[in-house]
């Protein structure tokens, strides 16, 4: 029974990793950029809910959609201001990567300047324990799992059934050819950033609901773990990112329960190293041949 509880707790935590990992994965799939500023979008999401709900006293049903919009706009702004020129001019990967790190530092430090470095408290939904027989779970865990599943289904539909989704797939497969077929790849990239950032905002809301505290550097470790989840699942793959997130969450929870609370992060990152040694493309990654 204990084991089941630990697995479910792990899935709850993994759901947040999964939602954030989706953003890493989508952006990587389209422009082969590891957007290290993605973790900080979670922080932006957290602070926008804080600003609207706690500082201005508006209800959650206004704060949550608003934070989704703020993050989506922020994602698009980052793409346009920081990455766009580099992408258009086919700049070296390393320049993109360093720009991403720069954006991440910029965001963290500006929020530290605006809100101070002290953590801020916030609670979104009232959370009561739920007793299922001998299982005691909390509401936020169940909420995390269900929201993440709904989000993944929605995203799959978006990518496979809509026109913009198909354009995303085409751009991901061959941006040059997609352009020749009349797809405005610039808009597709912008859209991908918007969707990825909005998903990060959903992750932020769930995160703040489960762990009611926000601080300017909260995106660091969370972003890193989500990135690990994306790589574990196969970067560029949507179900892979979800699977990677869940696997990581459960691995963390079980390590804490049965091995060591101190070694949790060490073990989580060892899983990544092992995975990269055994199957470098990740659990669900496609083995793409480099085109010459």
């Amino acid at each position: 029974m204990d084991f089941t509880t630990h697995v479910i707790n792990g899935l709850g935590l993994g759901s947040i990793y999964a939602l954030v990992a989706l953003g890493y994965s989508m952006v990587y799939g389209i422009v082969q950029l590891i957007n290290f500023a993605h973790g900080d979008i979670i922080m932006v999401g957290g602070y926008s809910v804080y600003l609207i709900m706690v500082m201005n006293g508006l209800p959650a049903w206004i704060a949550i959609p608003a934070s989704l919009i703020i993050c989506a706009v922020m994602g698009m702004l980052i793409e346009r201001i920081a990455y766009h020129r580099l992408l258009v001019h086919n700049a070296a990967r390393i320049s993109l990567l360093i720009t991403a790190l720069g954006v991440s530092m910029f965001l963290q430090n500006s929020f530290m300047l605006l809100f101070g470095s002290e953590p801020k408290a916030m609670s979104i939904f009232d959370s009561q324990p739920i007793n299922l027989g001998s299982l005691v779970l909390d509401f936020s865990t169940l909420l995390n799992i269900s929201v993440s599943v709904v989000m993944m289904i929605g995203l799959q539909l978006l990518v496979n059934k809509t026109k913009i989704g198909k354009a995303m797939q085409a751009t991901s497969e061959d941006a040059g050819a997609a352009k020749l077929m009349g797809i405005n790849t610039n808009n597709v990239v912008l859209f991908t950033f918007a969707v990825g950032s909005a998903l990060a905002a959903v992750g932020a809301v769930l995160y703040c609901n489960t762990y009611p505290q926000i601080k300017p550097d909260m995106g660091n470790l969370l972003g890193l773990k989500a990135f690990v989840a994306a790589v574990l699942g196969g970067i560029g793959s949507i179900p892979g990112a979800m699977l990677g997130g869940y696997a990581l969450g459960v691995a963390e929870s079980l390590t804490k329960a049965y091995i060591s609370t101190r070694l949790t992060d060490a073990i989580v990152f060892s899983i990544l190293i092992l995975m990269l040694l055994v199957k470098p493309t990740g659990l669900m990654g496609k083995n793409r041949k480099e085109k010459v």
């Binding site: 408290a121 005691v136 909390d138 762990y211």
Partner: protein, 380 residues
């Protein structure tokens, strides 16, 4: 060795310049007291709190005529929370001829400085370095705050005797000596009092998810749960404990002070059943305390914290010892510090044979969005 020779040459040079300077202006009109505090860096808020309060105290003492008929000249140096910087700053203060030292503020630099100060037999009081071995460095090293294990012992005794707890669980930060110090002493005392310790769970510094550990604790339904950690972690753990339906009374140490700012109003009931030991009573109606708090707020536009109160008392304790010693001789000051019996903002302080304070703690609980002191409490 060569280094030593250069250092001693430099010292001679400094002393000579000092002596010549002395010829021109009468510098010995003041009594110099040195201060070490992190005024910038990650723990700057603690350093500033101590330094600000010491300045207020010294000013008050000077306004009343100073000590030994002379004014006190207090000079504090920013050591940025770094042990190496702290030791260097200590040497430069010692060269300037300080007769005693207030500081350092956090445990690690305090320990490093204490070892050097012991070599010089420099009277030293740390207002807030709580790590147990600091005062063991030498018979010249004192402290005004509680040591970590004392708080563990105190809370275990309080839980057993006053709250009637029979079983206890512990959740602590394995990477923080403050946390492990309280946790270990709590466990030992609880067992000695015949309580069962159902869980002793740790977590890595910087964790935000405590559900796994709390799930285990929830299963064993202890009467009390000790969280010997700082306020921002307390806020996270208390919220998750409530989410998992843990009904145990929560206990903590002085690191809890300020936790209310970290908890959202809608979540305030997570602390409905919590107790921690504070080193002072901020709600006290005592006139001296009220005057100090008012002065501090007006002057620095900041809320005084426990570190401020400890810093203020430390300055008075030191000044009293120098006055009674009748001279600035180190041995005489140390002898008087050992005989300290001072009634200050934190209560009545005497030092034990390990030069740690023997004083009451203030058991504090929460009444809505306010801290409420229940009683003062102490153990041997």
């Amino acid at each position: 060795m060569k280094k030593m020779r250069i250092v001693s040459l430099l010292m001679v040079a400094v002393m000579l310049t000092g002596a010549f300077a002395g010829c021109k202006s009468k510098k010995s009109d003041t009594i110099k007291i040195g201060g070490l505090a992190p005024l910038t860096g990650g723990v700057a808020q603690y350093g500033q709190a101590v330094d600000n309060a010491v300045k207020i105290a010294i000013e008050e003492i000077n306004a009343k005529g100073g000590v030994l008929g002379k004014q006190i000249e207090y000079k504090s140096v920013d050591e940025k929370g770094d042990p190496t910087e702290a030791v260097n700053a200590y040497y430069s203060l010692a060269e300037e001829g300080i007769v005693a030292l207030i500081g350092d503020v956090t445990s690690k630099p305090s320990k490093s400085v204490a070892e050097k100060a012991a070599e010089d037999n420099m009277p030293m009081i740390t207002p807030s370095g709580s790590e147990e071995s600091i005062t063991a460095s030498g018979t010249n090293v004192f402290r005004t705050c509680f040591i970590d294990p004392y708080q563990g012992k105190l809370m275990a005794t309080y839980a057993n005797k006053e709250l009637g707890a029979k079983s206890a669980a512990i959740l602590f930060d394995t990477g923080d000596p403050y946390s492990t110090g309280i946790a270990d002493a709590f466990e030992d005392t609880a067992k000695a009092l015949g309580m069962t310790v159902t869980n002793n769970e740790g977590y890595a510094s910087g964790s935000t998810d405590f559900k796994t550990q709390l799930t285990k604790i929830q299963k064993s339904k202890p009467d009390v749960l000790l969280l010997p950690v700082y306020y921002s972690d307390v806020a996270l753990i208390a919220a998750q404990a409530k989410q998992l339906g843990i009904t145990a009374k929560l206990l903590g140490g002085d690191g809890w002070a300020g936790v209310l700012n970290q908890i959202d109003e809608n979540n305030i009931d997570v602390l409905a059943n919590a107790y921690f030991c504070n080193q002072f009573d901020p709600t006290s109606t005592d006139q001296e305390m009220q005057d100090f708090l008012k002065k501090y707020r007006e002057r620095y536009d900041a809320e005084p914290i426990m570190f401020s109160v400890l810093g203020y008392d430390t300055a008075y304790i030191l000044a009293a010892a120098i006055e009674k010693a009748g001279s600035t001789d180190a041995d005489k000051i140390i002898a008087e510090l050992n005989k300290t019996d001072y009634d200050g903002l934190t209560g009545k302080t005497v030092f034990n044979e390990k030069r740690n304070p023997v004083r009451q703690a203030y058991i504090t609980t929460f009444d809505g969005k306010k801290e409420k002191v229940l009683q003062s409490y102490s153990v041997d």
